[in-house]
């Protein structure tokens, strides 16, 4: 069975290679970079073998090394242009058209193969045993799709051997420590849940809001979804808290709204919050380092109009629905 362990091991090796090339380049922060990516590689290769405490120590060690790297990777001193070589682009208009197809093809192969794989995964059996881990079919499909994309790229572009690794780990170094943040934020969600933070926040909100007022309840619910999503950087973590604390007992059970719009509109208010926070790292901070932007909040700033407009519209929509108590089906 193809499980996640093979993929983790391969990714671990890739991060080891990144550490090695950082060390070879040396230059000041080389040691911190090498240590950071080396520890991360170890976490991937041996994470399942180590006990929880050792894995925790690895994450703490990486955090201190990230402090040594400062946020240089977030605010590059020199904004480089997107690296270009244009080596394939020769031969005028006709050649350019051909190379565009050649370059876009591998990029489009990825989503196509990923979707096909997820659809086909339930039928992949061998002597009654599933060939792939069904719980992680999405991730496995994605990895196989990127490999398929690489094969197509290799066939059409003939890059020098070793280039995928070299350029891939150069990109890893450019993104820097924010690369690990999506994973660590999911960790934070798990820790909060285990420590009971979610329940406490729900209890607190029901105490604060005045009882029996539709507008206050709607505003408390939608604003709460937006703020908690912004705080933890994830609407998925905020939804069970606020739906359980306000959505179901107050909006649905007291005011007679249908549960479906309350849930759906609440989740979308959470999405507005996610667009406004540096805690939603892979959406709002990773592109800042990926595109070499100077202003850490540049992407969030560009999202403010859409986030607030959609939030206001959704809050209004939910409030209007309270006038049709019990008739707001579906």
């Amino acid at each position: 069975m193809i499980g996640m362990e093979i993929i983790y091991a391969a990714l671990g090796l890739f991060f080891f290679y990144t550490a090695y090339s950082a060390l070879r380049r040396g230059a000041g922060q080389g040691a911190a970079l090498a240590g950071f990516w080396g520890l991360y590689g170890l976490h991937f290769i041996a994470g399942s073998v180590f006990n929880d405490f050792s894995n925790g120590l690895i994450i703490i060690g990486m955090t201190f090394l990230a402090l040594c790297m400062r946020s240089r990777s977030l605010m590059p001193t020199v904004v480089e242009t997107l690296p270009l070589s244009g080596s394939v682009l020769a031969g005028g208009e006709d050649g350019a058209k051909k190379s565009m197809v050649r370059l876009l093809l591998p990029l489009l192969v990825v989503p196509l193969v990923a979707v096909l794989f997820v659809l086909a995964a339930p039928w992949m059996h061998w002597h009654g045993r599933s060939l792939i881990d069904p719980k992680r079919a999405n991730q496995i499909g994605y990895v196989l799709a990127t490999l398929a994309g690489l094969v197509v790229a290799w066939w059409r572009l003939r890059p020098p051997a070793g280039l995928p690794f070299a350029s891939g780990s150069a990109l890893v170094c450019r993104v820097g420590w924010p690369l690990v943040l999506p994973q660590i934020l999911a960790t934070l969600g798990g820790v909060y849940m285990a420590a009971g933070v979610n329940q406490q926040l729900g209890v607190l909100l029901t105490i604060i809001l005045p009882p029996g007022n539709e507008l206050a309840a709607v505003l408390g619910y939608t604003t709460g979804m937006m703020l908690v999503s912004a705080l933890v950087g994830n609407a998925f973590a905020a939804f069970p808290i606020l739906f359980g604390a306000l959505g179901l007992p107050v909006l649905v059970q007291s005011f007679g709204l249908s549960p479906a719009p309350v849930a759906a509109i609440g989740m979308l208010c959470g999405f507005s919050g996610t667009l406004l926070t540096p805690m939603a790292v892979n959406f709002n901070i990773v592109p800042v380092s990926l595109l070499g932007l100077q202003d850490r909040f540049a992407v969030i700033r560009a999202q403010i109009p859409a986030a607030f407009f959609v939030f206001a519209g959704n809050t209004l929509l939910l409030y209007v629905l309270t006038f049709f108590e019990g008739h707001s089906s579906p």
Binding site: I7, A10, L11, H43, G47, F50, D52, G56, T63, A66, P83, G86, S87, L89, S99, L103, L104, L107, P111, L150, A153, W154, L163, S167, G168, A170, V172, P178, Q183, I184, T187, L188, G190, V191, Y192, A195, G196, V197, Q200, L201, L248, P259, P261, A263, L268, F271, P278, M279, N282, P287, L290, L291, D295, Q303, P305, F309, V310, G313, N314, L317
Partner: protein
């Protein structure tokens, strides 16, 4: 449940707020909060570190998205950014606003059809959309695009991907957020069908499209000067 010890855990959220306000390293803030919160809930330091390690190890699957980086590296080596710029001159996308609006609609439709992986910051924005928007910007400013404007176009490209993806994907029936809502509702003994949830995402999609149209027009106007 409402004992003194567990109320203290809310201070763990305070650590995040304080860290963001003080502009500290976010990785440090998040790790600090996930160590302090269990301590406030009465766990021992050993248990707190083990908790961090446990959830980090089981969340490794999220970092699988980075396996695409070698492919992006190869395509950029082969001149993908240049090719994207070439594409702008051949399509009738003459302004950055048109490029971004086109991508917005494409992203929203494909997300609504469940193809969320057709977009993305690493997969699409950096290699393709940002260079296309910049090239169009160079075109309408006659090559006098300032560093500041270039930065604004790149940020707008990243924002387009996020906004269109967020307010498009919920229309699809089998997306993660719909499944999560269904699971939470079911845990509270409420049965709903996925389409009953997804139909309420349509107003948001329309609102996001309208605002973005205005924003893109504003970008074009300010570049034309």
């Amino acid at each position: 449940m409402v004992d003194h010890g567990s109320w203290m855990t809310l201070l763990g959220l305070g650590v995040i707020i304080g860290g963001v306000i003080l502009r500290m390293n976010i990785l440090f803030v998040v790790v600090a909060s996930s160590l302090i919160t269990p301590l406030l809930a009465g766990k021992t330091p050993y248990e707190a570190v083990a908790m961090l390690g446990h959830y980090a190890t089981s969340a490794r699957y999220i970092s699988v998205m980075w396996t695409i980086l070698p492919l992006i590296g190869v395509l950029e080596w082969a001149g993908l950014a240049d090719a994207a710029r070439g594409l702008v001159s051949r399509l009738t996308l003459k302004t950055p606003g048109h490029v971004l609006q086109g991508y917005f609609i494409l992203r929203q439709i494909s997300a609504a059809l469940g193809l969320t992986s057709l977009g993305g910051q690493v997969q699409m924005v950096r290699p393709l959309i940002a260079p296309m928007a910049e090239e169009a910007g160079r075109h309408i400013t006659n090559g006098t695009l300032t560093e500041e404007e270039r930065e604004r176009l790149r940020a707008a490209a990243a924002a387009t991907d996020n906004v269109a993806g967020f307010f498009g994907e919920d229309i699809f029936l089998a997306v993660a957020s719909i499944l999560l809502m269904q699971a939470v509702l079911e845990a509270n003994n409420v049965q709903v069908l996925p389409w009953q949830l997804s139909v309420w995402a349509i107003p948001s999609a329309a609102m996001a499209l309208a605002v973005s149209w205005l924003c893109f027009r504003k970008i074009d106007r300010s570049l034309r000067r």
